[in-house]
Subunit: 124 residues, 2 copies
């Protein structure tokens, strides 16, 4: 059976708002032990993504607001996509996580290279 | 054929020194687009690891030296290990990269969940 995004994705997604400070975003990453935070608007629609790599960019370049470090052109997945499709996108864009969105671009999950390595590692 | 760490690992490892500043470590991550830096001594022996997650910790907790954020008890891989073994370790310790060391604990490579997802994603 081909495994799909919906079989593996985390559904309880921790997100950020555009108005959040860099410090608060960093605190959430540390508290939840995660690296990827989709940024959403008040309707839970995807407007960007911020990762711990972006926090490093803030430190490296002295940037002080989320707006200056978040990525707005987000590569996403849909829940019916096969896992191989996710792996191809991660590799092609040199990224390690994809927000999963519905038809209205609402965030319904997230899937990372750590999820893929866990799933494929245990199937052997 | 069982794929092993040596078949997949990156051999040209970018490392940090314990005396490096948090800002300089962040600059290397941004310049090289990486998240994991093994920390080595003058003999290239592994003494710790620092990731972009640790840089987020510095921001979240106002920590100002590498010594305060790096991890010293490092989970590593050896080049003959099967990839499944790497995946198990990453999942068990909730981490996303392993320095590859030789018998003298010298760093000879690095392997991440992104490498595993790329390799297993393309084999299907
Ligand atoms: C290009 S990657 C390079 C570093 C490393 N390979 C990694 O995966 O974090 C870092 C950048 O990718 C962006 N990024 C991460 N996930 C993304 C996604 N799903 N869509 C678009 N950009 C993303 C981050 O905002 C960050 O600016
Ligand atoms: C526990 S993980 C949690 C966040 C996320 N799961 C990740 O992979 O970055 C973050 C911590 O793991 C540590 N770490 C990363 N790779 C490691 C390794 N190979 N051995 C020991 N600790 C490691 C980092 O220094 C950081 O303090």
């Amino acid at each position: 059976k081909t495994l799909r995004v919906k079989d593996v994705m985390v559904r309880d997604v921790i997100t950020a708002k555009e108005s959040d400070s860099i410090e608060n975003v960093a605190k959430i990453m540390i508290e939840k032990e995660i690296n990827h935070l989709p940024v959403v608007d008040e309707n839970n629609k995807l407007v960007g993504i911020v990762t711990s790599w972006d926090i490093s960019k803030a430190v490296a370049q002295g940037l002080d607001t989320l707006d200056k470090i978040m990525t707005r052109e987000v590569i996403t997945a849909t829940e019916d996509e096969p896992l191989e499709e996710v792996a191809k996108k991660l590799s092609k864009f040199n990224i390690s996580g994809l927000p999963v969105v519905d038809k209205e671009k609402k965030v319904i999950g997230i899937i990372t290279s750590s999820d893929l390595s866990r799933v494929w590692g245990s199937k052997k």
